[in-house]
């Protein structure tokens, strides 16, 4: 059996196992557990696509929240029924043709990604004229512009009132299928000749250009693909939370994503997946420390916000002891895992 064949079989087997576990949760799990699993999947999608620009291309892009917002609004506006829209838009009516369109969820997700990509296309011209800190500021500014526009364009976004009462279409199947699709697409890209060119730009842009790589073209490519998946994830989030408003996807979300990919391992998809899982699940698991506790004779009353303190401490410890994140730039491979296992059994 060749290695590629073996890996294919192992990949398929682990997918079956994963979806089996998801099915068990769907059948027997609590709503709370299902919610966390959905969150994990959405954050995996976001982190893996964000990592393409920050980790692989090495550009400090601080505006994924803009594309998530655009995706969330696009998808929400497309799945709401015309009557719902008429009832929600009480300040200013929704502009035609958005007011009459209603499409199935999956089409709305594709549109969410597409619209986010179109915005990314236009913004990429100013963004990739600059590098480093300046690029970070331009993308950060774009995130703010989108937030302000969501407040101001009342005839499209319903302004500060936001959109309420969306159908909770996002379930485990949607969120995890999209997460896995994202991982496959991004990994394919990273391991292709195009991905190599992107890494070359990260390592040394002047040299990459001297070797015939067009930096603008490749950075834009990564940016657009990243925006597409951010937009789709935004659509998933909208139908998971069922209420969206301009204050929902602020810079804080970008900041969380940045933490996820840095702690996971900047430039590693495996790292992004681990980081997203730890973040979405760990944040909830740490709620224990906020409940009242008795340690021997000492009684500790529940301190709200304690988990964020502990979370910060964990982050610092990870960065101190693993400066390049949990995985560094390494990726998971079956060779590595089987190697570890056979070493353990010896």
């Amino acid at each position: 059996m060749t290695k590629t064949r073996r890996n294919l079989i192992l990949n398929c087997a682990s997918l079956v196992v994963l979806f089996g576990i998801l099915w068990l949760f769907q059948e027997y799990g609590t709503e709370y557990q299902i919610r966390i699993l959905n969150n994990i999947a959405v954050f995996i999608t976001l982190a893996v696509s964000y990592n393409l620009v920050n980790g692989i291309c090495g550009q400090l892009h601080l505006g994924p929240n803009a594309f998530i917002t655009i995706g969330a609004y696009t998808s929400a506006l497309l799945t709401m029924s015309p009557t719902e829209k008429q009832m929600s838009f009480i300040i200013k009516p929704l502009i035609w043709p958005l007011s009459v369109i209603q499409v199935p969820f999956w089409i709305s997700l594709i549109m969410a990604g597409t619209v986010a990509t179109v915005f990314a296309f236009f913004i990429s011209f100013p963004v990739f004229r600059v590098r480093g800190d300046y690029l970070a500021i331009v993308t950060l500014g774009f995130g703010e512009v989108v937030r302000v526009l969501c407040n101001a364009l009342q005839s499209v976004t319903n302004g500060p009132l936001g959109l309420k009462g969306l159908k909770p279409y996002t379930n485990l199947w949607w969120s995890w299928s999209i997460a896995i699709f994202t991982i496959i697409v991004i990994q394919r890209l990273i391991n292709s000749s195009w991905g190599r060119a992107m890494k070359a730009i990260r390592e040394n842009e002047i040299a990459a250009q001297a070797m015939g790589v067009d930096p603008f073209k490749h950075l834009m490519m990564a940016f657009l693909i990243s925006a597409f998946f951010s937009g789709v994830a935004g659509g998933l989030l909208a139908h998971l939370i069922t209420t969206i408003s301009p204050t929902l996807f602020t810079f804080f979300l970008t900041f969380n994503l940045l933490i996820i990919i840095v702690v996971g391992g900047l430039g590693s998809t495996t790292g992004a997946v681990i980081g997203a899982t730890l973040f979405a699940w760990g944040g909830e698991a740490l709620r224990v420390v906020e409940s009242p506790m008795d340690i021997g004779p000492i009684h500790i009353p529940g301190i709200p916000g304690m988990r964020m303190v502990l979370f910060s401490v964990i982050l610092m410890v990870v960065i101190i002891f693993a400066r390049r994140g949990i995985t560094g730039r390494n990726e998971f491979s079956w060779d590595w895992l089987l190697g570890k296992l056979s070493f353990g059994s010896r």
């Binding site: 394919r188 890209l189 292709s192 000749s193 070359a200 040299a207 990459a208 250009q209 015939g212």
Partner: protein, 263 residues
Amino acid sequence: MATLGSALFEARNLTMKFGGLVAVNNFSLRLEGGELMGLIGPNGAGKTTIFNMITGNLVPTSGNVIWQGEDITGLPPHKITAKGIARTFQNIRLFADMTVLENVMVSFHYKIKASFWHAMLGLNKYRREEERIRERSINLLREVGLAHLAGEKAGALAYGQQRRLEIARALATSPKLLLLDEPAAGMNPQETMELADFVRKIRDSFNLTIFLIEHDMKFVMGLCEWIKVLDYGNTIAEGTPEEIQNNPEVIKAYLGEPKYATG
């Protein structure tokens, strides 16, 4: 404009000003093809600036760069590379966190014929091409004696090996003109001698024209057939190694006026 002539490469009156400073003044060069041309001069004479103007990293204040009869002045670097001019860097600029093999493979990327969608769908057209790129990269590494290090991170190589890898990477873009910016910098005499043989060898086996900057006089004098000397941006002399060695202007530029030197 007059006819552009039949030379492989021509630099016409290249001038580069940074504010009030004239870094390079009226530099001209004509290469017919197959030469081994050297460019020397004291520190800060403007040698690397000339390279940067040729490769598009800097746009000259005035003057033209002509490549096979076509004016390529001000084209971006990646387009100039695609035309057939490759370079190495004075301060090594490898893709340090990528493997030696990947470093070379990047140079084949701009010529790839399969589309991005072929790659994403894993179609045969892309796979075959990727395989061919890998093979050719390994062959090239064998040529420069780095094949056994193909899987190592480029940043982990020894200094001399890194210099060779830079040349291999430049060769992978299939250039007709190769610009080497201080290839012997930091090498010991033994390595420098090997490098001279190596440069001569690749000139012949890849049919190259080579234009190089170097400080090591022994290296330049032994290797180059024609040398240009630059001082404060001006071309002060040119000729065969023997002529340059005995040129009073050159001696003055390097050692200063005799009256001060003996003072």
